[in-house]
Symmetry: D2
Subunit: 252 residues, 4 copies
Amino acid sequence: MRSIDINCDMGEGFGNYRTVDDKALLPWITSANLACGFHAGDPSVMKEAVQLCVAAGVRIGAHPGLPDLQGFGRRQMSISAREAYDMTVYQIGALYGFVVAEGVLLQHVKPHGALYHMATHNKDVAEAIVNAVYKVNPDLYIMAPAYSEMFHAAERLGLRIAKEAFADRAYQEDGRLVPRDYPGAVIHDTEQAAEQAVRIIQTETVTTLNGLSLQIEADTLCIHGDHDRALPILRAIRIRLDQEGIQVASLS
Amino acid sequence: MRSIDINCDMGEGFGNYRTVDDKALLPWITSANLACGFHAGDPSVMKEAVQLCVAAGVRIGAHPGLPDLQGFGRRQMSISAREAYDMTVYQIGALYGFVVAEGVLLQHVKPHGALYHMATHNKDVAEAIVNAVYKVNPDLYIMAPAYSEMFHAAERLGLRIAKEAFADRAYQEDGRLVPRDYPGAVIHDTEQAAEQAVRIIQTETVTTLNGLSLQIEADTLCIHGDHDRALPILRAIRIRLDQEGIQVASLS
Amino acid sequence: MRSIDINCDMGEGFGNYRTVDDKALLPWITSANLACGFHAGDPSVMKEAVQLCVAAGVRIGAHPGLPDLQGFGRRQMSISAREAYDMTVYQIGALYGFVVAEGVLLQHVKPHGALYHMATHNKDVAEAIVNAVYKVNPDLYIMAPAYSEMFHAAERLGLRIAKEAFADRAYQEDGRLVPRDYPGAVIHDTEQAAEQAVRIIQTETVTTLNGLSLQIEADTLCIHGDHDRALPILRAIRIRLDQEGIQVASLS
Amino acid sequence: MRSIDINCDMGEGFGNYRTVDDKALLPWITSANLACGFHAGDPSVMKEAVQLCVAAGVRIGAHPGLPDLQGFGRRQMSISAREAYDMTVYQIGALYGFVVAEGVLLQHVKPHGALYHMATHNKDVAEAIVNAVYKVNPDLYIMAPAYSEMFHAAERLGLRIAKEAFADRAYQEDGRLVPRDYPGAVIHDTEQAAEQAVRIIQTETVTTLNGLSLQIEADTLCIHGDHDRALPILRAIRIRLDQEGIQVASLS
């Protein structure tokens, strides 16, 4: 029986600010990527997010980002590989504090926003991030798109990899996501997202925006929680996966 | 043979900014309290500080502070006990990341500045901080003045305590330090500081600013690194302790 | 014909975060207090808020707060009077940049949250803030409760004062607001708030939570925008003021 | 009689942190570029810097930077032109507060670090920054290298320009500075820097690192204060300019 993890970004509030209703999404996912205070999240937001995940039985991962709260970690910064290592160690550690305080284990790490993109395309940054994960805890998974620099760096190091695919985003022919500001980049239709999810799992292919078939492997599906279609899409995917006899389970 | 730990605050730079020359002080101490990014310290500063400590054989502790870089964590903030818990867990965790990445163990926690003062006098904040330390790692020491709220809270919880005394600061009759802005509060004379250190260790008493004798117990002596007399004072203390046959060793 | 100003806090988002829908509230008020980047607001949020105010014909004031985004400027900090002066000058200036860039004038200053409370009760901080306003622009109004330290400091200096009263908050007998966490502190009933507004303007008195009559003068009514009753309360007040023939107009 | 302005970055401390001794440099310059709180500077640092400049008779300019205290504003960030406008308006305004409070006028604006580089090479960012300056105060000067995008944008808009050249940095053939990490990029020899200064002013040419002669115009010479040769270089330049009968005076 095929099995897939479903991950979602969470704990992305700060101070009095909140974005999405994490509680509504938690029943539909198996892994949560929690912001660690740099692009979003503060100690109180993080503790609450960890406690919600523990109560919901959802596995927890660190979601380190660039030090840019105003830009939500989505603005590229010319950081060095050394700085990427340092900020990744810091943020994994900070989240680890809450995870161990609640008596659970950290499952994975997934860089956020511009840091994720740098780790996908920049070999030095990818190696720095993967090395940071390994040094803090060699049992952690890194979530990475197959064939990304981050994927290769993790393979070379022997770090556990959860190959990530996207159900609610359109793909280019080169395997990358269509940029967010491009028409058709974000899939809002619930059935289309569910169809893409099932297709990726069953056939290890996805249809690109241009209509081509692209090979793709996935251990985890990413669903973006920060648009109002997130919940209906998650529900539709879970129903379709259930119909197809595909199990939804965390990585470990 | 009596033994004492000597601790000093370190890693208090940020970005391009540096304060004291940590490298010069490290040979003279056995425990370092490293800033964790809130009142000072950033990921790169923290990593470098951890590596310096490891190279010098100095044990490492977390030095969590209030989220106030501009005020260097010295301005009181009306945080709740819950917020004190949250920010302590976060900062211990963040430093833990670097400590474990370098293959060593975290030894202790010592709150910084205004957070230390709140933990000394406010029972709720003291319990929150002590509980945070315990939840992250019950084997850690908390550095606390004997008879402070933090000391009592640690005793009740069963957390390891390193009773802290000060060689370079004058005491009031009630066991508290004379506030920094008061004449005679900071001891600049090296022999006087060394004398106070030896007296505390050998007689478990200290002479207050008013000339009274105050009972005091100490497992660790704090030396403030942020004034230009720090190095001569440390040297003088080490020489006197050596003469008196008092061993200087970390807590564990 | 009696006239009153109605002020509301606005521009309290940060980065991707938003709190209330400023656009919905603007048609009902005459003065807006805009966050200046310390407790909320960033340059982009501020520019947008200024442009919305200009489009709506609402007068603009600076709403300086403590440097505590996480605590939304509501946590007391032990800042010195000098620091209060410095952070007030900075924040007024920063907002002034956007105001002058849009071709309008700054009307007033009203401290936010914990800084407002300190300015109400602490003479040194009150004088520092009032002095900061005067030094940047002696034509600005300061919004202050009558009989507060800030009011007296402004009187001594000769700074223009807009005496502020609250339609949606209950009063204590000593003229202060009932603390937020106290039952009955916040008035959610639209008619009750409208009644309190009219009573303050027409009789210069308000009924305290204990049922006593308290003398009160008001040039401006503050309505809190950060609860879901804000819009209905504003509508109810405007309708009642209209019925009573009371004009709603900005300070200048 | 030829006249030249000499500018230097100042007020680059934060909280307890300081970098260079501004007081030592002030007697040798005529214009100071003051950090505005994003890459360095906080309200108290800024006020002190403004007061020092006023006391020394040195003209004041805003030195806006990217919101990156940790990276000292030297790490490129992919900000939009709109964000460049917003952060420039904010920072000029913030400094304006202190300048007007001390009873003087703001003279100029000079972007810092990575923002300066973006304004030199990126037309959209250059226009946004120049427009921000103009909107806040059309009488301000912008300091810009001749032939940079910022220079052209200011020309198109009709903003006053102070053409900037560097006495302590080597030039490439294309008119740009040799990058800092390149051998020979920074001129440490006092006589060589003084020679370059005189040559630029008298001949409107500079010798590049490759030994070629490059045409260059200058209204202001930038001296970097953040290395230990700053003071001897400034002294040497002032002595040489005096010998050559070149007057040193601010822009206005």
